[in-house]
Symmetry: D2
Subunit: 238 residues, 4 copies
């Protein structure tokens, strides 16, 4: 599909201040995610970060955004309420929103869900297996029964979210927890996809990892809006 | 069920300032609603209004509230954000919430829905027929295929809400509109029921009307929390 | 999207035996529906009817079907259980299914829903207004707030179906009824769309009508499978 | 709630022919389940088995049934289609249905779901942890974050069911699988609860086990119909 426009928003703080994170994502998580779209020539990628003016989310940027990816962790509180309201309105008008990992606690996700979006977590570099619960959904195109991440932060239930419209992935963790790791909702005219994998101290979004676990980024690329759905089939998953 | 505790919150402004409203609800809409519970001896009713300290919703009142009814119209903006956050947390912890009519635009409802909760409206004293879409649900106990209100304000789709967990009532309006007039959602551990009927210049909640259309209040009495569900069967509906 | 394959199944009995129906659909309802796809060159249309061998639904036909349209009315009971089981399995494997009007009582629809799929009806050539409840959904692309049919058979609630995944259209009828006229469900890997309009004695599917109410067929063309979703934007709606 | 009527249906074949099963459930699984209701004096329990006339499900028995429990495994095919249709109609009219464990493949469950209800399974006496996803739901009353079964048959996704109305339990299995182990749906006026635990060669339903894991039976006792919901709070869970 020609001209699909993705904006990748990253808090971009850990990568500047934490040596371990910097080593994995020297240019920032957003750049790593953006590179995952390099083989999808129809997708135009824009990047935006917290410390840009208006957090990089000016009206002109949002006017050019079909789908917004959101990664944040330690600075959720610094996102201005005005920008959150603006992004909420864009979603209700039809923009897709993909919330990644610790973005579950972002203002924009909590605002759209109406709940606390709380969960359990543990950093033990344990194994995660993501079961494909919706094999007919475009997001899971090219994924078989499950895919695995060898070393990941654990997120456990109960995840305080409204019942998803569709449950896409269910995670099993080595330590005994389960998690609804891929969920869709519709709000207004927009679609929202929460995708659990990803952590600043594990190379989940890194190219090297992506080359080993390509299915993971396949799921990011084929996402929540009808426009992006169309991209699904064309994106190389191997 | 013994000791079920209902708190009825009313903005209580129209009734003081507008002669037409005052004529219909001289003591306030909350008092009229409270009286509808008079024949349910197991239900303890508390009332609270916007101009009470803490809007009448102190921690000690909320501690004693299983289900909160909410009526507001012209002063949604005067409800403090702090109280809204507190009520939201109570709902997520398990308190039932019944939002009435123009409460669709209240801060608490919009916060819990995550959407704009906008709709169409017209004041033409037209006929409304509420079709019972969930005949097996406790809320509709004692209601047949539909019930009617002869002179009502119209609310029309599209109502900007998340897909309800269950659609309870669908309204037909004389002028050509339809509306999802009874909807349930779960958020956190709490249940939410939106119920459309009611307007400050029509005697929808007035005893005389209730005596003619008793089913309407039956729906208010058997509501969203498991505790109130239990009440359903015991409440006289004729 | 190149090569999307639609099979239109029609009971094709009324058109042979009833002069009034024959006058409106001389070649059969399936041919009229097929012609509505004439301007969508990427869509390959196949037709099948009850009196064909295997009801026209051989394995080789189903192998070449991305989406199956189903129109039936007076001969539901003559559809073989074996064919119904086969079509059910195809849907569960990912085939889209669009059930039209009186197809609500077809074996295949009842089998996939698990309910009686009963409803009220009245033939009074009354006005129907279909409100667009899902303006962000591909099915409603190009439709505004609502569209109208001047003379239609009424279908009224309660429609005995499982809660839809998404409610697309809500009908208002002149005579006082409402109906969930456009509904989606997912079953297995397949998507199902029920679309109410259409009747054998009203020219709902006829070209002349379509030219006056083109949006109606726009909704049929952009339907339930991701493949057909992609077609939505390209299909001329005027 | 006085006079709530539960009928427990058991295939009752393994217990007669298999020594291992007989040792665990000498009187039949139905009797063990029935005894779990012994401390709930308001509940009247009836039992019915496959080899009874009309499978024990005559009209007069069904007339006296508010909720039907269903356990079957090796003889699903021997249940008559006529009885299945009758039970389906009762559910649609408002009877609650609790489907246990291998009952996922019963005719009645598949009929009501419209899908294949297939799943993965493995008998390795492995550990299962059932996470409570719906802490505000009556079924989970008295259950904390999770409960565990030390030695159980594994059931794994993808479970081919329609998206549940509400997800109640999510299971984690030692061997790497997850499963939607407690799910609710509404069909017609009736409510359905699928509950995974239970196997004929593990003493899941046995009193001794129940005494160790009382919460498990608590979930069976407070179930799907509003009538049974009311029972929830009164049932001893320790």
């Amino acid at each position: 599909m020609s001209g699909m426009k993705v904006t990748i928003w990253n808090e971009f703080r850990h990568e500047k201040t934490n040596a371990a994170v910097k080593a994995i994502y020297p240019e920032g998580i957003h750049v790593t995610i953006a590179k995952a779209f390099a083989d999808a020539p129809d997708i135009e990628v824009t990047m935006a970060t917290l410390d840009d003016p208006e957090h990089g989310l000016s009206d002109s940027v949002l006017d050019q955004t079909d789908v917004l990816f959101w990664w944040g962790h330690c600075a959720h509180g610094e996102v201005s309420d005005e920008i959150v309201r603006k992004v909420q309105q864009r979603v209700l008008q039809g923009m897709g929103l993909v919330v990644l990992h610790s973005g579950h606690y972002s203002k924009i996700f909590k605002t759209l869900m109406g709940t606390n979006c709380s969960l359990k977590w543990r950093e033990a570099a344990e194994k995660e297996r993501l079961w494909n619960i919706a094999p007919g959904h475009p997001i899971t195109e090219g994924i078989g029964e499950y895919f695995e991440l060898e070393h990941t932060e654990m997120y456990g239930e109960r995840f305080d979210i409204p019942e998803p419209q569709q449950l896409i992935f269910l995670s099993w963790f080595q330590g005994g927890e389960v998690f609804r790791s891929g969920c869709t909702w519709e709000r207004g005219n927009g679609r929202i996809f929460y995708f659990r994998p990803g952590h600043e101290t594990y190379p989940i979004y890194h190219n090297a990892q992506v080359q080993k676990n390509p299915v993971e980024f396949g799921t990011l690329g084929s996402t929540t809006s009808p426009h992006i759905y169309r991209q699904g089939a064309k994106q190389p998953c191997t």
